[in-house]
Structure formats: structure tokens, C-alpha cells
């Protein structure tokens, strides 16, 4: 009996150490993601703290500790969504007014100059000109439902199926939100680049 209790204590201590080490390792990513989702520091801190409290309470149910990273990130997304619903007392994802969005906007097509293939690379140069703050602004300006999906796939590398399961929506919805989110993001970056005068638009292209 005593031996079993000691064993249990030992296991729980190991889990605690594992949890602490993973939290330390992932803290900046969790906070950065929460900041992009909430768009303000105090709310982002609350979301991370609540996420970690939930994660700890569910840790015994996590079979594969190798998958901790994606697992805790999915908890963060769910925490963000439920906190937001609680605060606004309404689902944040409904009635998106986005029917007029161009799904196919491509930043690459705006700046790519085929005749320069061998001599220059204006599209890569454009990407290098964006400050981190420019990119963050473009992400922050996305509507929440698009922002969440873009972050889940591009920042955390979740599969479409994992995103669908986390958000409890069909995979087709994930595809369409991702497609629109990316188009909107690239359009926002193009608009910023044009305003900043760093766009280097193709000759004859006056579209904004």
C-alpha cells in the first residue's frame, strides 16, 4: 500500500515536472498566439492562464505526451472561444459578412515579374521589407473566424481535420475559411505595401 502511494507520488511529480518544462518551452508561443487572437495583452494573459489551468486538469487524459504541444494549443483555442462567448454572450463566429471577399487574391501575382526570373526576385524582396509589426497588423485585422483558422494552420501546423475537430465545424468549412483568410491577409499586406510605397507594383498595374 505504501509502495503504491509512493509510486503514485513519484508519477505525479514526474507529470508536474513534465508540465512545467513544456509550459516554459511553449510560453512565448502560447502568449503570442493568444495575443494575436485577443488583440490585447491583459486578455491574452488571462487566456494563457486559463488554458494552462484546464490543461493541467486534463493532463491525466493525455495518452501520448509527445502530442502535448498541439493538444495544449487546441485547449488554448477552445479557451479563447469560450471566454469570448461568455463575455459577449453570443457566438463570435456567426453571421460573417464576407460574401464579397475575393477568394483568389494573390500577393505573388501582384508583384511577380516573369521576365525577371533569372535576374531578380521582387516578390521575395517585398516579403523581406515587411516589418514584423506589418504582418501582425494584417493578421490582427482579419475577422476572428478567419484569424483563428489561419493561426491554427500556419502557426501551429494543425491539419484541416484537427482544426475541424477543435472548432466543431466540417472540414469543408475549414477549407473555405482558410482560403478566404489567406486571401484577405494577402490583400491587407498588399494594401499596406502600397500605402508604404514598398509594393514595387508591376508596370501598368494600378489596382489596389
Amino acid at each position: 500500500m505504501t509502495l503504491r502511494m509512493e509510486q503514485t507520488d513519484h508519477n505525479s511529480e514526474q507529470r508536474r515536472r513534465f508540465f512545467e518544462a513544456e509550459v516554459e518551452r511553449l510560453m512565448d508561443r502560447l502568449y503570442g498566439t493568444a495575443l494575436r487572437l485577443t488583440r490585447n495583452g491583459p486578455d491574452a494573459e488571462d487566456v494563457v492562464a486559463e488554458t494552462l489551468a484546464r490543461a493541467w486538469s486534463k493532463l491525466d487524459g493525455l495518452q501520448d505526451l509527445q502530442s502535448f504541444e498541439k493538444w495544449v494549443f487546441r485547449i488554448l483555442i477552445n479557451t479563447f472561444i469560450s471566454e469570448r462567448r461568455r463575455r459577449l454572450a453570443r457566438p463570435a463566429d456567426e453571421s460573417p459578412d464576407c460574401e464579397d471577399v475575393l477568394d483568389q487574391f494573390s500577393l505573388f501575382e501582384k508583384v511577380h515579374q516573369p521576365f525577371l526570373l533569372w535576374w531578380g526576385n521582387p516578390e521575395q524582396q517585398l516579403l523581406d521589407k515587411f516589418l514584423r509589426a506589418d504582418i501582425n497588423r494584417a493578421v490582427d485585422d482579419l475577422q476572428e473566424e478567419f484569424r483563428a483558422v489561419v493561426i491554427m494552420v500556419e502557426v501551429w501546423g494543425l491539419s484541416y481535420a484537427e482544426v475541424a475537430e477543435t472548432l466543431e465545424v466540417p472540414v469543408g468549412t475549414v477549407r473555405s475559411r482558410l482560403s478566404r483568410g489567406r486571401a484577405l491577409l494577402q490583400r491587407a499586406l498588399w494594401s499596406q505595401a502600397s500605402q508604404l510605397g514598398i509594393a514595387g507594383a508591376k508596370q501598368g498595374d494600378t489596382s489596389r
Binding site: E45, A49, P114, I135
Partner: protein, 77 residues
């Protein structure tokens, strides 16, 4: 004999390709196309680099106040 894909088809599926959401055969066809098509290769590189820049946005140094709060919380667990 495997099927060759057009640039149009590659561009249409490029983001799913980068997301690793395609079946193995389609992925192989696109990869093979890019070995010889500089235009599609450039576009893929652009999208990949953009994605890297966006991923950077998901990392921000957590404030000390949050670290302290989390440490205190974990100590109570």
C-alpha cells in the same frame, strides 16, 4: 506511367500541397512538376516564406507578470 500536372493545376492546389493535405500521388506529381517549372517553384517558395513570416507573428515574449502568475498557479497544482 504517371500523369503530368499543369501549372494551373499546381497553383490551384499549392496551398493544400504546402499544408500537406494532398494524397501521396498528387503530392508527388506537384513535387515533380516543381523540379522543372521555375515559375511554380518561385510561387511555392514565396508562399512558404510568407507563411514563415506569419508564423513569427505567433511568438511574442511573454510578460514577466504572466510567467509569475503561471509559476504560482503550477505550484498550487
Amino acid at each position: 506511367m504517371s500523369k503530368h500536372v499543369s501549372c494551373e493545376e499546381v497553383i490551384k492546389r499549392l496551398l493544400e500541397f504546402l499544408d500537406k493535405e494532398l494524397d501521396a500521388e498528387t503530392e508527388r506529381q506537384i513535387r515533380s512538376h516543381m523540379e522543372t517549372c521555375r515559375a511554380c517553384f518561385s510561387r511555392a517558395e514565396f508562399e512558404r516564406r510568407l507563411r514563415e513570416r506569419i508564423a513569427e507573428a505567433g511568438e511574442t515574449k511573454a510578460p514577466d507578470s504572466l510567467r509569475r502568475r503561471v509559476r504560482a498557479m503550477v505550484a498550487r497544482f
